[in-house]
Symmetry: C2
Subunit: 322 residues, 2 copies
């Protein structure tokens, strides 16, 4: 087992990359001259919406599941998640051939429930509060002996998420900044360790919905200020910042900025219209930051992590029924 | 000027490829293990939804515009089109720096009107009948001296459309069949000439909406049986089969099959959900054929041309407001 006492390290990200190779996809990077013109910058979109299970969460979950000993793995894995981590964990467990027990809030989008079910995960529903989720997960673990794989406050998960930035910097070495959505902080912390290790000059900027801005407030305060009632369309970013991610973020991340839901929806729509790809609201958050102010990024070569593409196609934010 | 007396030839497709190189995109080919399992075949999706102007029509329009003499080009180009050819022609004209005059039926989707406007095309609206479109186009040509570039009944356009199959067979040489949507026949005729010239053993199959099945009926009858009132959600495939395309299709195409609008919508939705890409209804028509019977294609390596990705995102066929 790797030494994890010192928090997330570059070694853990490199080990994750070897461990998950061939089990998740190397996703493409897309560009758009139209969106470049709108943003006044050179944009490189890392398409984790095309990733296995439909989001970057496949990386961390796969790393965590395959890091378990055979004895641990045999008893299965468990988690509580708004959706993408749940589907990713169910898939990783299936790839390893072990059971996955999933606690989901009862307001999870139908597409995300279906994702878990598709991979054979056993779903237990609970109220949409962090306390209810954690309590239901504890009960499951006690009953089954499964290992709890937290969606983001877990070094193996954080290390796995960092592999997206490793790939991105290999695909576009000339990047000057990376914009990354932030919810619980798993992706942002992994991205920061990977990017700053590979290319210290790269600016790493977190982008967060204004209606779930605990990471931005915590970053400024220097201590975790939890979110109580998140209110944003970006369902993947409603979680509260985790302690292990925050320890990395406060040390390595250059800035965390927030965007309104109105900008998120506008950004999401432009990505669908112009790039002809399906991304979920959370994935549009980095591009939304470029539709706002961020004047210091004008003219720069920017990587944006399109974190996922799972959403209910009946309920789009720009339709009457949305 | 090439000799065009003998209809569409392989030489014309090769010339088109050279002429449009660097002016349109080489589009990627995507695969999906989930859709492979659903269809019981190995599917290779040629993503013309990612093409310049959002559809394969950029290929034919660019070839036609750049085949004009400087003197002809200076007076501009004109066309009537339900949308994708119009946007493609407006873009090609802008790339060459000449005017484009576009006649559009007044029921064209908003996204397709916007496509023409974006590239600076001058739009004239008319009734949604072939007669009204042709008459309005004739008037425009008489008034401006522009060259009429027919959306499909034109050898330069057909040759350009054939370049998608040239690329596809270079990207996936082991293909055994190509499924191609058919409306006016420009794409299918170009595809047939390219595919049968490069690899005679490849089966080329046209797929058409049941509510606009003139190509299927004409293919069986051996003569053109025009469509009077097309009724299908696939707005790009409502046109009547052209004479020049038909001359190729009856000689080289192996079969033309039809699919219901219900299957088209189901296919479109699966492509969005699973592949995370935006395709318009017409583009989903080939995959719809695989959701139906087509048992002779089970287990085969099949290329499918995803013809375009332009549609009104407010009006999706599976939403209440659609």
């Amino acid at each position: 087992m790797p030494d994890t006492s010192s928090g997330l390290t570059w070694s853990l990200v490199q080990e994750a990359r070897e461990r998950i190779a061939g089990k998740v996809d190397l996703t493409p990077v897309l560009t758009s001259s139209t969106l470049d013109a709108e943003a006044g910058a050179q944009l490189h979109f890392k398409c984790e919406n095309f990733q296995k299970s439909g989001s970057f969460k496949a990386r961390g979950a796969t790393n965590a599941v395959f890091a378990l000993s055979p004895e641990e793995a045999r008893r299965g894995v468990a988690t509580h998640s708004s959706g993408n981590h749940a589907a990713a964990l169910a898939r990783a467990a299936r790839v390893r051939g072990v059971p996955a027990y999933i606690v989901m809030p009862d307001n999870s989008p139908q597409a995300k429930r279906a994702g878990v079910a598709r991979y054979g995960g056993e779903i237990t529903y609970c109220e949409a509060t962090l306390a209810a989720r954690e309590s239901a997960a504890r009960e499951l673990v006690a009953a089954t002996g499964a290992t709890l794989i937290h969606p983001y406050d877990d070094l193996a998960v954080m290390a796995g998420q960092g592999t997206a930035a490793v790939e991105l910097l290999a695909q576009v070495p000339e990047l000057e900044a990376i914009l990354c959505p932030v919810g619980g902080g798993g992706l942002l912390s992994g991205t920061a360790v990977a990017a700053k290790s590979l290319k210290p000059s790269v600016r790493v900027i977190g982008v967060e919905p204004a209606g779930a801005d605990d990471a931005a407030r915590s970053f400024r305060a220097g201590r975790i200020l939890p979110i109580v009632k998140p209110d944003t369309i970006a369902d993947g970013l409603r979680a509260s910042l985790g302690e292990r991610p925050f320890a990395v973020i406060r040390r390595l991340v250059d800035d965390i900025t927030t965007v309104s839901d109105e900008l998120i929806v506008r950004a999401m729509r432009r990505i669908w219209e112009v790039m002809k790809i399906v991304v979920e609201p959370s994935a549009a958050v980095p591009y939304a930051a470029l539709l706002g102010e961020r004047t210091e990024l004008r003219g720069r070569r920017i990587g944006l992590i399109l974190s996922g593409g799972n959403l209910d196609l009946e309920r789009l934010p720009w339709t009457a029924s949305g």
